[in-house]
């Protein structure tokens, strides 16, 4: 293998599994250390700079970081660091941070931007562009900002106060809000001579199932996200005693748990796929089951059963999942009798679609075969250079943190576009690599590896939370538990940096490494090299760090997979060929 180019910022970035997996590339270990140090304001601001909604995401994020977390694979039964809930610790314990928010220039730059939709993507664009002097108008059909975070995420998961606070930080920068305003024509917005328009209208159309009996069942069958919005805006305050929720995603989980709070006693989730294949995050499934909601998997809805013009229930066909050699799944009926389940109400949460009936097709915006706008994956620009898309509106339903990442990139593009620079000029990330050496064998990070298992977030008593739709279920870690959970972090951003000329090949690092990451071997092609190491490097998703050739014609090879970042290699190195260096990677934002 060729020697690893550690000057390429993506090499060490990839070692920081959590940050690499995060769509917004939030520097996770950095803020976890700040939480451990009790510096909650600083931890909050590191988050805020990167993901804009630390308090909201600390409760609701899909947390792609956690499955990626190295802690989860260093031993059987070991779980990832509770990164998401630690973020909430920073948000819960911070003092007033308003003085640390960016200054908004009194002298504007003369450019006007329209944001359509006031969800996470648009708010992120506003957050990045307001400090640069842009005039921004934001349009939304709801009465306040937040988009789906307000209409679809129930209050028992995300209290309105948290949402209002973090949406407020942005709107208070001087964004001109046009709430309760449904934009029905993009042309009308473009006609207002904005310098650029950003579309962040989400994926607002819930899918339905057109099964026999639907028409007769009429009002007792609801589209999940519409129903959640109606509950959030207090148009709906009750539901029947027996509720069937169709679908296996997070919206289904929100629907069933909300139903339990609005009078549903026998609430069931019914899903076509096997339990393990459900789209909902494992923790959301657990939370639903904790509230006494059974999940019936492998049940395909067949028809609504209506008697005397009233919904009685639904028929389901039982199926089995079969997988072909490519892993493609087919659901094969078992041939058993149809299963009947009683229901007073049915909520359909089987997915959502984008919908752009309000975008005229003669504005120079190309649409593809799926009736989605053609949007550049890096710049978020549509084929009309003045119109940008982001969030679920760009490429279909994702999640809040992805919308934030889109917003940052779209803001860069809009800024470049308004300065008449090519939007393809993407700024390089900001990186910094700094030795953590304080003295002989002393490091400025806590290199001791804690043995604690992942801590469980405490919850409010079930009987209370089921009585009050707005009472938050999770209480969050207290400061003490937050500290302990933070200490589980392995500090994967503190990199093991190898300096070949200093190495005397004494093997001290090989001998001390608790997880057998380091080997000195003859070089070979990657597949062969992976088998030559002290421990076979079987995780192909993790890179090998290969040095230049040593005097004995061998190379140092480090398998990054289960490195604990404990620093013992550097402590046992007599010549400081190994050093522990903190790698900070931050995605450059508009105007930086």
């Amino acid at each position: 293998m060729n020697p690893t180019d550690i000057k390429n910022p993506e090499y060490f970035h990839k070692v920081v599994d959590c940050q690499y997996a995060c769509p917004a590339h939030t520097p996770v270990p950095e803020y976890i250390r700040l939480i451990a140090a009790g510096r909650y304001d600083d931890a909050y601001m590191v988050n805020w700079e990167s993901n804009v909604f630390p308090g909201i995401l600390g409760r609701t994020c899909d947390r792609p970081c956690e499955p990626a977390c190295r802690r989860g694979r260093i031993a059987k039964g070991e779980e990832p660091v509770a990164i998401c809930r630690l973020k909430r610790v920073a948000a819960d314990n911070k003092a007033d941070i308003s003085a640390r928010l960016p200054q908004i220039p009194a002298q504007k730059n003369g450019k006007r931007i329209a944001l359509i939709g006031a969800g996470p993507a648009s708010l992120t664009v506003a957050r990045d562009l307001m400090p640069l002097g842009y005039d921004i108008d934001i349009y939304d059909n709801q009465f306040a900002g937040g988009g789906m975070m307000r209409s679809q995420i129930p209050s028992f998961r995300l209290p309105a106060s948290v949402l209002d606070e973090e949406v407020g930080y942005i709107l208070d920068m001087g964004v001109v809000t046009q709430f309760n305003t449904e934009v029905t024509s993009l042309k009308s917005v473009l006609d207002k001579d904005y310098d650029a328009v950003f579309v962040g209208t989400g994926a607002p159309r819930g899918k339905g199932l057109n099964l026999p009996g639907l028409e007769e069942a009429g009002k007792q069958v609801h589209i999940g996200i519409d129903w959640l919005a109606s509950v959030a805006f207090e148009h709906t305050t009750a539901i029947g005693r027996r509720v069937l929720v169709l679908g296996g995603g997070n919206t289904a989980m929100d629907c069933c748990r909300t139903s339990r709070r609005l009078g549903g006693e026998d609430v069931r989730v019914v899903v076509r796929s096997p339990f393990a294949d459900m789209k909902a995050s494992p923790w959301e499934k657990e939370d639903a089951m904790h509230e006494g909601i059974p999940i019936y998997d492998n049940h395909v809805p067949k028809e609504f059963v209506v008697e005397d013009g009233k919904l009685k229930g639904m028929h389901f066909e039982k199926v089995e999942a079969h997988y072909d050699e490519n892993g493609k799944r087919s659901l094969v009926p078992t041939g058993e009798d149809l299963v009947f389940m009683e229901a007073d109400d049915v909520l359909m949460a089987i997915g959502q679609d984008n919908a752009f009936p309000w975008v005229e097709r003669d504005l120079g915006i190309e649409f593809d075969n799926w009736d989605m706008p053609v949007v550049d994956k890096a710049t978020f620009q549509s084929t009309n250079p003045r119109v940008f898309f982001g969030g679920d509106a760009a490429f279909g339903p994702e999640n809040v943190i992805t919308a934030v990442a889109h917003g940052h990139q779209a803001a860069i593009s809009i800024d470049l576009f308004c300065k008449a620079e090519p939007v393809s000029n993407r700024p390089a990330p900001m990186t910094n690599l700094l030795s953590q050496k304080m003295g002989i064998h002393e490091w400025s990070y806590d290199n001791q590896i804690e043995n604690d298992k992942r801590f469980v977030v405490p919850m409010a008593p079930l009987e209370e939370t089921l009585r009050n739709r707005k009472l938050e279920v999770e209480l969050g870690f207290d400061v003490g538990t937050g500290f302990k959970e933070a200490e589980r972090c392995l500090n994967c951003d503190v990199q093991t940096v190898f300096d070949t000329p200093r190495c005397i090949e004494c093997d001290a690092c090989v001998d001390i490494c608790p997880t057998d990451c380091i080997s000195f071997v003859e070089n070979a092609e990657e597949t062969e090299l992976r088998t030559r190491l002290s421990a076979t490097a079987g995780n192909l998703a993790q890179d090998l760090y290969v040095s230049t050739e040593l005097p004995t014609r061998r190379v140092m090879v480090k398998d990054e997979n289960v490195c604990l970042h404990c620093g013992l290699c550097a402590e046992r190195c007599p010549t400081s060929a190994w050093d522990m260096q903190k790698f900070l990677y931050s995605v450059t934002k508009a105007g930086q």
Partner: protein, 350 residues
């Protein structure tokens, strides 16, 4: 400074026939200097014991005084240990071995502990062919007292703060050969590929097995001008050949090219596979071994690998025809079988 090893190990560590991973053979975290060759030897001992699937409680590790003799704390944390008096480890092993022949005795010593204060003890353990592995962690200096030349420092070699050594060196393998040792090897802490099979072979050998391991002292004796530095040893080491050790339980699966190879079956049924032997050395001939050692030394080379082995070695218990059962397990009934037995013995002598 870390005083504890993290508890986590590689999740796919191989498990030996006893169900143990290498981690089960580790000891406390080392307090020796960073880069000390001794730590590498500890690592090699851990690997050898794990690969041989030895039960940790069947091993006794014994040492004298010195950096080397601290080392047993850093491996085999679940085995018996005895950190004895300076240079007196062989006596303690002799006593222990006489009392309980069922344990595996692993003596760890240094150049000072062996070639100076313990020289007399060493000599007699060798000539009695005491069944033990005797590893010398040889750095040519007194590291624990700031690096003075030891008795194994080569003439002309200079340590970091010292003048060239005016005295001639004691060559432990040469000495052991002369004293009648039945297994003599030399290796280098920086070459685990060679050291691990040698340790395994020494463990399987019945009788006194000496491995003189050159182990650079990074703090006091790893400078230009020293003949025990990493660089010097790498440049001047000459291997007698490669050694591969196949434990008794395993089938020989590797195929070796024909030519200068030789398989030796050890006392416990294990097989030692020697390859690419130096043309001027027959490791089963004491005279040839002595000549080869002297010759390489005269040429400024350090001969490493298996130097000599007596395939028909008889250890101290064999020679003394002691009880097969360990003496410490014999009861009063066994030792004083009573008047009737005495009468029989007396009768047999009449």
């Amino acid at each position: 400074m870390s005083y504890q090893l993290p508890k986590f190990r590689h999740p796919d560590l191989p498990v030996n026939t006893l169900g143990y991973t290498r981690a089960d053979y580790e000891g406390a975290i080392s307090t020796l200097c960073a880069g000390c060759g001794h730590d590498s030897i500890s690592g090699a001992i851990v690997r050898a014991c794990h690969e041989l699937a030895l039960e940790p409680h069947r091993i006794a590790k014994l040492s004298g005084i010195g950096c080397s003799s601290k080392a047993p704390t850093y491996f085999l944390g679940k085995s018996h240990g005895f950190n004895s008096v300076h240079g007196r480890m062989p006596s303690v092993v002799s006593g222990a071995n006489m009392a309980n022949r069922d344990l595996l005795y692993l003596g760890v010593s240094g150049d000072g502990d062996t070639a100076s204060i313990g020289m007399g003890q060493f000599a007699h353990a060798v000539r009695r062919n005491l069944n033990m592995v005797y590893i010398v962690m040889n750095n040519g200096c007194y590291g624990l007292t700031k690096g003075q030349d030891s008795a194994t420092a080569d003439a002309g070699s200079a340590s970091k703060k010292g003048d060239p050594n005016p005295f001639s060196a004691i060559d432990l393998p040469g000495l052991a050969l002369q004293l009648g040792a039945t297994f003599v090897a030399r290796s280098f802490s920086g070459d685990k590929g060679q050291l691990v099979p040698l340790i395994k072979a020494a463990i399987s050998h019945r009788g006194f097995a000496l491995i003189d391991v050159i182990s650079p002292c990074v703090t006091f004796n790893n400078n230009p001008g020293s003949t025990k530095s990493y660089d010097f040893v790498r440049e001047h080491a000459e291997a007698t050949g490669t050694v591969d050790f196949v434990p008794m339980r395993e089938e020989i699966t590797a195929s070796y090219p024909a030519g200068r190879t030789q398989d030796v079956t050890l006392h416990d049924g294990s097989v030692l596979h020697l390859e690419k032997l130096a043309p001027d050395l027959d490791p089963f001939d004491r005279v040839s071994a002595m000549v080869a050692l002297q010759k390489h030394s005269a040429e400024g080379q350090i001969l490493t690998g298996l130097i000599y082995m007596d395939k028909d070695s008889r250890d101290l218990h064999d020679v003394m025809e002691t009880s097969r059962r360990p003496l410490n397990s014999l009861t009063e009934e066994d030792l004083c079988p009573g008047d009737k037995v005495l009468a029989n013995i007396n009768a047999s002598l009449r």
